[in-house]
Amino acid sequence: MKGYEIIDHTADIGIKVYGKDLKELFQCAAEALFEIICDLSEVADSIEKGVTLEGDDLEQLMVVWLGELLYLHETERILFKRFEIKELENNSLSATVYGEEFREGHHTIRTVVKAVTYHQIQVEQKDGGWVSRVIFDL
């Protein structure tokens, strides 16, 4: 099973993500993050970026991964829509991510996400697949 659902919080927002393997799980989580931020149907994948990261464990890797994308989004004003996870093992990850620079009037921003939190963070194997929960600070 692949996909995600939104967890509705009073002050913030979270996602619950599913993937058949870890690569799919991390890819899906990134898609969910940018679906929260903008309408991805308006976004092209003309810019390409390489990302290499590591964490102390899978949960931290998830926070660091989404945090890295958020950092690139904020400092380089890129909206990301496609995520190719090349490698993911031993709590480290390398990926190529694709998106487009934000243009006023062309792209619709839904929500500004400030940060990826560790609050109730979860990355777990379940029913032959993987599931993750992440809460964002808005």
């Binding site: 509705d8 931290q60 950092y71 560790y118």
Partner: protein, 484 residues
């Protein structure tokens, strides 16, 4: 989300409720609320979070929650907790991502009817002059490394030296706009990068600049002493340390996750990760947090300057006629080292206020000389469609809440529920019909921030006033608002 745990809560009086110490809690929790609000508070997991904070080492007194408490990550929003600086901890999660998010209130020499017919022009001009929304940057203010270092070290003082505002402004900012133990060497390159072109910008979400007027006065003597009168035009600025603060929090949560293990701190939630105040990690976080706090002070100071310039330009007035003077600027996401008398002895404590405001009483040495007889002014902003309050701090706040009070209305509804409720409605029009002009970089912000999504701030303020931890002075109503 959480495992279902029922929190036992007992009435102390009409405005105070106790969460008795159980399990690994080191102390009780105390929640300031009335009976009706408590029912709402019980609907999310924020009471569990009050109990979780009571687990942390070296906590002094109780784990406290103000009436605008709502679900946060780790610590609840509206939480206050003090820790012994020798035995206790400091936690980035107890400050939050938006370090020194805060509000400042200005009074003016104008009356409501002087600007009523110009409010649309004023809001449009503010919207153009103060960048807001996603990735907002100031094109006329890009910091080089040296300037940024000075911002981090000197806060609002740097801004005033650059011509943004006056020396007198400094007097009316919490900590005089500069926390002294700031050390930029503990700020990551990434945090600097995020901060470099965001100074002087509002950001998003609930941040705003609001032009309003004094609608009600509750304490005429205090109001007079604060230069406040009915129908007077006021301005509120609500923003924080932008991406720089978020990055500092993020960086130090990573540090603290390791530190918690290193110092053997038992955590009910990873987001509560922390280190002893006096440890290397604790000291470095406090030095980095002070940098972010100073950045936020400079940010509000620069925005104030642009607000003044904008009003002068649109109203064709000079600064002397406008008289847009600062009443006070308070932080509501911060950790401070402060001194309190505990069991008869003076103790230095690390007081975390996450969505809570300092509210020092009359005669306190840390408040401006001009306010020594009055108490520290506290501004409690409500939602954009209702009203805000000006209060002052009291002695009781020192006795009970480490000199703290509430910070705002507090959400009662998630953003997506608010969006659903706003669907098909023209919120801008509805507000306009109530006499409030609103502009935002994002349509969804306006929908997410509808009044229905928040507690009525007057309920929150009634609780802190009746409990005696601050005192009502005046109520302010919005006329024009720009939102992030």
């Amino acid at each position: 989300m959480n495992e279902e745990v029922t929190i036992d809560i007992k009435r102390i009086d009409d405005y105070r409720w106790r969460i008795p110490r159980v399990g690994k809690m080191k102390t009780d929790g105390i929640v300031y609320a009335d009976k009706k609000m408590l029912e709402d508070i019980k609907k999310d997991k924020s009471l569990q979070q009050v109990a979780n904070v009571a687990w942390l080492p070296g906590i002094v007194g109780c784990s406290l929650a103000m009436p605008d408490i709502h679900w946060g990550y780790g610590f609840p929003i509206g939480g206050v907790a003090a820790f012994d600086i020798n035995r206790g901890i400091v936690s980035p999660g107890g400050v939050g991502y938006d370090i020194n998010c805060g509000v400042r209130l200005m009074r003016s020499g104008l009356s409501r009817n002087d600007i009523e017919d110009k409010i649309d022009d004023l809001v449009d001009a503010l919207f153009v002059n103060i960048p807001s929304g996603v990735g907002s940057q100031r094109k006329d203010l890009k910091l080089n490394a040296e300037n940024e270092r000075n911002v981090l070290l000197r806060g609002a003082k740097w801004a005033v030296d650059q011509g943004y505002g006056t020396q007198e402004d400094i007097e009316y900012i919490e900590d005089r706009g500069c926390i002294l133990n700031a050390d930029p060497q503990f700020i990551s390159k990434r945090a600097r990068e995020r901060g470099r072109n965001q100074l002087g910008t509002l950001g998003s979400g609930n941040h705003f600049v609001e032009i309003g007027f004094v609608s009600d006065i509750y304490d005429h003597d205090l109001a007079r002493a604060l230069g406040i009168y009915e129908e007077q035009v006021t301005v509120i600025v609500h923003t924080g340390s932008r991406g720089l603060g978020h990055q500092v929090c993020d960086d130090y949560i990573k540090v603290m996750l390791r530190a918690s293990g290193k110092y053997g701190i038992d955590l009910p939630d990873r987001q509560l990760c922390c280190a002893p105040v006096e440890s290397k990690e604790g000291k470095e976080y406090l030095a980095a947090m002070a940098c972010a706090a100073n950045y936020a002070f400079a940010n509000r100071q620069i925005i104030t300057h642009w607000v003044r310039k904008t009003l002068e330009h649109v109203l064709k007035l000079g600064p002397k006629d406008l008289q847009l003077d600062l009443i006070y600027d308070v932080c509501h996401n911060i950790a401070k080292i402060e001194e309190y008398r505990i069991d008869g002895k003076k103790k230095r404590l690390c007081v975390h206020r996450k969505g809570a405001t300092r509210a020092f009483p009359p005669d306190h040495p840390d408040i401006p000389r001009a306010y020594r007889a009055l108490g520290q002014p506290v501004l409690i902003p409500g939602d954009m469609g209702r009203y805000s309050y000006l209060l002052v701090g009291t002695e009781k706040a020192i006795e009970e809440t480490f000199g703290s009070t509430c910070h705002g209305a507090g959400r009662v509804m998630s953003r997506s529920r608010a969006m659903k409720l706003a669907k098909g409605r023209d919120i801008v029009r509805e507000l306009k019909d109530k006499g409030i002009t609103v502009r935002s970089a994002s349509r969804s912000t306006i929908a997410e921030e509808i009044s229905d999504a928040y507690k009525d701030v007057s309920d929150v303020v009634e609780v802190v006033h009746n409990a005696g931890i601050s005192k009502k002075v005046a109520k302010l109503k919005p006329m024009g608002v720009i939102k992030g």
